[in-house]
C-alpha cells in the first residue's frame, strides 16, 4: 500500500465534489481548480519519476482485497503503474493542467464546468492505472457523464447532437467491452479480474491464466469484441465518425482533453488487453495482424485525405487525429513478428505515439481555441495573415504543426520513425502498409502547411470575411495563456530531443507484456 496512485486518481474527483458542494465564488473556484491541477501535475511527474526502471513490473501498487467479495464475483481495488501506463498518467497530468489553465476565460456556469473537468481528469487517470478489469470498466464508463455535459452545455454548433453521438458511440464500445470482460472472467480457469500478474501480492493476472483457460466463447470473438471497442475509442476507420463532430462542437479545453487523453484510452486498451491478454492465449494473430495493418493504413490515408479538404480549423485537426491514430495500429500490428526484445521497436513507437500525439494535438486545439476567441470564426477562408497580429500564437502553432507532420527534433518524428522502421522489417503486407503510411506523412505535411499558410500567412482577410472588420484590433496571446501553451510545448521538445526519457520506460512495459 503506497497510496500515491490512489491520491492521483481521487484528488480531482474529490475536488470536483468540493466545488459542487461547498464553493460558491467563481473566482475562488477557478483558483481552487488551478491549484488542484497544478498539484496533480506535480504528483504525476513525481509518480513517473518514482518508477524504478531497473526493477520493472507493476509499481506503486495500491491493493484492497475484496472490494466486491461476492462468491464468484471477486473484484478487487487494484491500481498501479507500469512502463505502459506511467507515460499516460504523466500525459493526463499535463493535459489536465493545460485544459484547466486554459479555461480561465470561461464565464458561463463556472462551478459546474470546473467540477466536471476535474472529475473527467480523475476518471481518465483511473482508466490508465486500474489493474482490475471491473474497476477499469467503471472508470471507462464514468468518463461519459462529464464529457456529455461538457460538450452539450459549453459546446458550440450542434452541441447536443455531438455530445449524444459521442456518448452513444462510447456506450456501444462499452457494451462490447463488458461482454468481453464477462466472457473472460467467467471462463473456467480464469475467474479473475486481475489484469496483470503481481508476484509480490500473489496475484495471477489474466495474461498468465489465458493460456490454460477454457474460454466460454471462442477466443477470436472475445478478441474482436475488445478490439472493436477500443477501435471506436481510438478511433480507427471506419468507426471514427463520432470524432469530428465531438471535437468540433466541444469547448476548447474539452477538445484538448478529448484528443489528448480520451483517445488514448483506446490505445491503452489495445496494448493492455488486445496485446497483453491475447498474445499468450490460443488466439492466432496471423490473420488478425494483416487486417489490423490494413485498417491502420486506410485510417492514415483516409484521415489525411479528409483532413486536406476541411475548412474548419478544429475539424481539420480532428480528422488529422484519425490519421495519426492509424499509425498506432500500424505499429501495433508488428506484434506478429516479435520473438525477442529487439523486435519491439514499432510497438514502442506506437505507445510513444500515444504520448506525442496527446501533447501535439492538445497544443493545436488549445491554439485554435485562442484564435477562435479573437476572430470568432474557425472558417479557414475567412482567416489569413494572422501572423502580423498574433506572432506568438503563430510561432506555437508552427511548433504544433511541425510536430504533427513529424519534423526531426520534435516528438512526433521519433514515434513515427520507430513505427515505420519496426513495421517495415516485418515484410510482406506490413511493409506495403508502412510505405502507404509513410505517404500519409507527406499528406500531413501538405495539410498542415497549407492550413498554416492560409490562416496565419498570406493576405489579410478579404472584405467579405467577418474578421476583416476587426482585424486591426486582434491581439496576441494573453499572459495567462502562456502557461498552458508552455506546459504542452515543453514535452514536445524534450521528447523530441531526448526520447529515451519515455522509450526506456515504455520498452519495459512492452517487454513484460510478451513475458520476454
Amino acid at each position: 500500500m503506497n497510496g500515491l496512485i490512489s491520491i492521483i486518481v481521487f484528488i480531482p474527483i474529490l475536488a470536483s465534489i468540493i466545488i459542487l458542494a461547498l464553493l460558491r465564488n467563481d473566482k475562488l473556484i477557478r483558483r481552487f481548480s488551478f491549484s488542484i491541477v497544478s498539484i496533480e501535475l506535480i504528483l504525476t511527474i513525481f509518480a513517473f519519476s518514482l518508477y524504478d526502471k531497473a526493477k520493472g513490473g507493476i509499481q506503486l501498487v495500491d491493493f484492497i482485497e475484496g472490494w466486491i467479495p461476492i462468491k464468484g464475483f471477486n473484484a478487487n481495488y487494484l491500481v498501479g503503474i507500469d512502463g505502459l501506463s506511467a507515460p499516460l498518467v504523466l500525459l493526463s497530468g499535463i493535459l489536465g493542467a493545460a485544459a484547466v489553465w486554459g479555461s480561465w476565460r470561461i464565464k458561463n456556469r463556472v462551478k459546474e464546468y470546473f467540477a466536471l473537468l476535474l472529475f473527467l481528469q480523475g476518471v481518465v487517470i483511473g482508466v490508465f492505472v486500474s489493474l482490475d478489469l471491473l474497476l477499469f470498466f467503471i472508470f471507462w464508463e464514468a468518463e461519459l457523464i462529464p464529457m456529455y455535459f461538457l460538450i452539450s452545455i459549453w459546446g458550440s454548433g450542434r452541441a447536443h447532437y455531438s455530445a449524444a453521438k459521442f456518448v452513444i458511440f462510447t456506450l456501444f464500445a462499452g457494451a462490447l467491452l463488458i461482454i468481453g470482460i464477462l466472457a473472460i472472467y467467467l471462463s473456467q480457469g480464469i475467474n479473475s479480474f486481475t489484469m496483470v500478474s503481481i508476484p509480490e501480492l500473489n496475484l495471477q493476472g489474466i495474461p498468465e491464466l489465458m493460456a490454460g483457460a477454457n474460454l466460454l466463447i471462442p477466443v477470436s470473438i472475445i478478441f474482436w469484441l475488445f478490439f472493436i471497442s477500443f477501435a471506436i475509442k481510438l478511433p480507427l476507420w471506419p468507426l471514427h465518425s463520432w470524432l469530428p463532430d465531438a471535437h468540433t462542437d466541444a469547448p476548447t479545453a474539452v477538445s484538448v482533453m478529448l484528443a489528448g487523453i480520451l483517445l488514448k484510452m483506446g490505445g491503452y486498451g489495445i496494448f493492455r488487453i488486445s496485446l497483453g491478454f491475447f498474445k499468450n492465449s490460443s488466439f492466432n494473430f496471423d490473420i488478425a495482424a494483416p487486417i489490423l495493418v490494413i485498417l491502420g493504413a486506410i485510417s492514415v490515408i483516409y484521415g489525411a485525405i479528409l483532413t486536406i479538404r476541411q475548412t474548419d480549423l478544429k475539424r481539420l485537426i480532428a480528422f488529422s487525429s484519425v490519421s495519426h491514430m492509424g499509425y498506432v495500429i500500424i505499429g501495433f500490428s508488428s506484434l506478429i513478428s516479435v520473438v525477442s526484445i529487439n523486435d519491439t521497436l514499432a510497438l514502442n513507437g506506437a505507445a510513444l505515439q500515444l504520448f506525442t500525439h496527446g501533447t501535439i494535438t492538445g497544443l493545436a486545439f488549445l491554439l485554435v481555441g485562442l484564435v477562435y476567441d479573437r476572430t470568432h470564426t474557425r472558417y479557414i477562408p475567412d482567416l489569413g495573415g494572422l501572423t502580423s497580429k498574433m506572432p506568438i500564437i503563430a510561432v506555437f502553432f508552427l511548433i504544433a504543426g511541425f510536430g504533427s507532420l513529424g519534423l526531426p527534433g520534435l516528438s512526433g518524428f521519433v514515434a513515427e520513425l520507430m513505427i515505420f522502421l519496426g513495421t517495415f522489417q516485418v515484410g510482406n503486407i506490413f511493409a506495403i502498409a508502412t510505405v502507404i503510411g509513410v505517404f500519409g506523412v507527406v499528406l500531413a505535411a501538405g495539410y498542415t502547411l497549407w492550413m498554416i499558410q492560409r490562416s496565419f500567412f498570406g493576405n489579410k482577410p478579404s472584405k467579405e470575411s467577418p474578421v476583416s472588420k476587426d482585424f486591426e484590433t486582434l491581439s496576441d496571446m494573453h499572459i495567462l495563456d502562456v502557461l498552458p501553451v508552455l506546459v504542452l510545448t515543453i514535452p514536445i521538445f524534450v521528447v523530441g530531443i531526448y526520447p529515451r526519457l519515455l522509450t526506456d520506460i515504455i520498452e519495459i512495459g512492452i517487454r513484460e507484456m510478451f513475458l520476454l
Binding site: 466486491i68 464468484g72 464475483f73 464508463e141 464514468a142 461519459l144 452541441a159 457494451a175 466472457a183 466460454l216
Partner: protein, 499 residues
C-alpha cells in the same frame, strides 16, 4: 393454527389494521395530514416487526411455515417485505402534499394503498396456489380504484384499462393454476415439486407426460407478465402510468414489479427446481425479455410526456430483469450457481431506489410547473440545482453509468446471462441499454442545457427532498458497495431453492 402463525403475518396484520383505521378516522378527522402520519406509523411499525422476524426476536429463525403451510416466512420473503414496506413509506411519505391538493377522497387513497401493500406482502410469502391468487387479487383490486382517484378523465380511462387487463391477466393466471393443480393433484408448491421430480427420469418423458404442467406454467408466466409490466401484457403500462396519480405510478413501477418478480422466482426455484422444464422456461423468458427491452426502449425514444417516457422505460427494465430470470443455471456448475436470481434481487433493490427517486422528484417538480411535458422541465437546473442534481443521478442510474447502482445491476444481470450460456441475450441487453441512452440523455439535456421557458418557481416539499436525497445516497452507496445487498440476496435466493 398457533400463535406463531399470527406472529409470522404480524406485519400484514398491522398494515391491514392501519388501513381500516385510516378509513374510519377519515370520517371523523378533518386534518388529513394526520392520516398520512398514521399510515406511515403503521408501515414503520410493521417494518420493525419484519426486522424482528428476521432477527429472531419474534420467532426462532426464518424458514417456517404458517397457516397450514400456505405461507412461508423465509429470507426471500423477508427481503421483499423490507423492500415493499420501505417503498411504501417513501411513496406515502412524499405524497402528503400531492394528496392534499390533488386527491378528493384522501382517506380512501391511503387506506386502499395500504391494503394493496398488504396484498404484496402476502404475495411474496405465499407458497400455495390459492393463496397466491387471493393475494394477487388483493394487490390488484385496490389499485384499480387508486388509479381512478386522479381528478381527471384520463385517470378514469386508465382505471378502466387497468381493470380490464388486470382481470384478463388474473384469469390467465387462474387458468394456469388450474392446470398445475389438475396435473399434480396439489396446490402446495412443495407437493408439486416432489410430484415433478418423482414422475420420471428422462427429460423427454418429463415433457411428454407433463405437457399440461408446462401449459400451466406458461400461462402463469404470461399472466404474471402483467404485474411485471413486461411483454405480452405491457400495453396498459403507458396509459395507466400517465393517467394514474403520480404516487400510484411510482408504486406500480416499483412495488408491483418487485412482487411480480418475487412470485416468478419462487415458482421457478421452489416449484420447478432445477429440472428440464427450466430449459423451455429459460427460452420463454429470453423471448419475453428481448421483446420487453426492445419495445420499451424503442417506444420511449419519441415520448414527450415524462410519465409516459418513464413508463416505457420500466417496460425496458422489466426486460433487463427478465434476463436475470432467464439465466437459470441448469447444469449446476460454476461458482455462482444462482447469480441470475441474485442479480434480479439486487437489481430490484437498486431499481426501487432509482425509480422512486425519479418519480418522487417528478411529483415535486410537476406540482410547481403544472405539467408533465418534458419541455416543462427546461431550466430546472437554474431554479433548483439540488433537485436537478438528484434527478440527474437517478437518470444516470437508469441509464446504467457508474458510479450508480443501475450500472452494477446491469453488470450482474449480464454476467449471469453470460455465465449460463446466454451470451446472445446479454448482447441484446447491452445494445438495448445503448439505445436507451438516447432518451435518458434527452431528459438530461432538457434539465441542464435548455434555457428555461417559464418563470414558475420550483418548490419541492421538504419530505420529497429528504426522501429523494436518501434515495440518491442509496443509489450511489449501493453502486459503490454492491455487496451490501448482494450478500443478503444470496441468502434470500438460497432459501427458496428446492433441489
Amino acid at each position: 393454527m398457533s400463535f406463531q402463525d399470527f406472529l409470522i403475518i404480524s406485519p400484514e396484520i398491522v398494515i391491514s389494521f392501519t388501513a381500516i383505521s385510516v378509513f374510519l378516522l377519515d370520517l371523523f378527522i378533518n386534518n388529513k395530514k394526520f392520516l398520512v402520519n398514521v399510515s406511515i406509523a403503521g408501515l414503520l411499525f410493521s417494518f420493525i416487526l419484519t426486522l424482528g422476524l428476521s432477527n429472531g426476536w419474534l420467532i426462532e429463525s426464518p424458514g417456517v411455515y404458517a397457516f397450514f403451510s400456505s405461507i412461508k416466512l423465509d429470507e426471500f420473503s423477508l427481503f421483499f417485505k423490507v423492500l415493499i414496506i420501505l417503498s411504501g413509506v417513501a411513496v406515502i411519505g412524499s405524497s402528503g402534499e400531492y394528496i392534499s391538493s390533488n386527491i378528493e377522497s384522501k382517506g380512501e387513497f391511503l387506506g386502499l394503498l395500504l391494503l394493496s401493500i398488504t396484498g404484496m406482502l402476502l404475495l411474496v410469502s405465499s407458497v400455495e396456489l390459492i393463496t397466491v391468487w387471493v393475494s394477487l387479487e388483493l394487490t390488484a383490486i385496490p389499485l384499480v380504484a387508486l388509479v381512478a382517484l386522479g381528478k381527471n378523465d384520463t385517470s378514469l380511462e386508465a382505471s378502466l384499462k387497468f381493470l380490464i387487463l388486470s382481470a384478463v391477466s388474473s384469469v390467465v393466471i387462474l387458468y394456469g393454476l388450474v392446470f398445475l393443480y389438475g396435473y399434480s393433484g396439489s396446490t402446495y408448491f412443495n407437493d408439486i415439486f416432489s410430484y415433478i421430480s418423482s414422475t420420471t427420469s428422462s427429460p423427454e418423458d418429463l415433457i411428454v407426460l407433463n405437457y399440461g404442467l408446462l401449459i400451466g406454467i406458461i400461462l402463469l408466466v404470461l399472466g404474471i407478465s402483467f404485474k411485471l409490466a413486461a411483454f405480452p401484457f405491457q400495453m396498459w403500462v403507458p396509459d395507466v402510468y400517465q393517467g394514474a396519480p403520480t404516487p400510484i405510478t411510482a408504486y406500480l413501477s416499483v412495488v408491483s414489479k418487485a412482487a411480480g418478480f418475487a412470485v416468478l422466482l419462487r415458482i421457478i426455484y421452489s416449484v420447478l427446481g432445477g429440472n428440464d422444464f427450466s430449459v423451455i422456461l429459460s427460452n420463454l423468458f429470453s423471448i419475453i425479455a428481448v421483446f420487453s427491452m426492445t419495445i420499451g426502449n424503442v417506444m420511449a425514444l419519441r415520448q414527450n410526456d415524462i410519465k409516459r417516457l418513464l413508463a416505457y422505460s420500466t417496460i425496458a427494465h422489466a426486460g433487463y430483469l427478465l434476463i436475470g430470470v432467464a439465466s437459470l443455471n441448469i447444469s449446476g456448475i460454476g461458482e455462482n450457481l444462482y447469480s441470475g436470481p441474485q442479480g434480479v434481487l439486487y437489481y430490484l433493490a437498486g431499481y426501487a431506489f432509482t425509480n422512486l427517486t425519479a418519480f418522487l422528484l417528478i411529483i415535486g417538480v410537476s406540482k410547481s410547473i403544472g405539467t408533465f411535458e418534458l419541455s416543462g422541465f427546461a431550466g430546472l437546473r437554474k431554479k433548483s440545482p439540488l433537485t436537478s442534481f438528484v434527478l440527474a443521478v437517478s437518470v444516470i442510474s437508469l441509464l446504467g453509468i457508474p458510479p450508480t447502482v443501475g450500472f452494477m445491476s446491469k453488470i450482474f444481470i449480464f454476467s449471469a446471462a453470460v455465465n449460463t450460456n446466454l451470451t446472445w441475450l446479454a448482447i441484446v441487453g447491452v445494445i438495448n441499454s445503448v439505445i436507451s441512452a438516447y432518451y435518458y440523455l434527452r431528459i438530461l439535456k432538457i434539465v441542464f442545457v435548455d434555457p428555461e421557458n417559464n418563470q414558475s418557481e420550483i418548490k419541492v416539499s421538504k419530505s420529497i427532498s429528504l426522501i429523494t436525497l436518501i434515495g440518491m445516497i442509496g443509489i450511489l452507496l449501493l453502486g459503490l458497495f454492491p455487496s451490501l445487498i448482494l450478500e443478503i440476496a444470496e441468502i434470500a435466493v438460497m432459501s427458496i431453492v428446492n433441489i
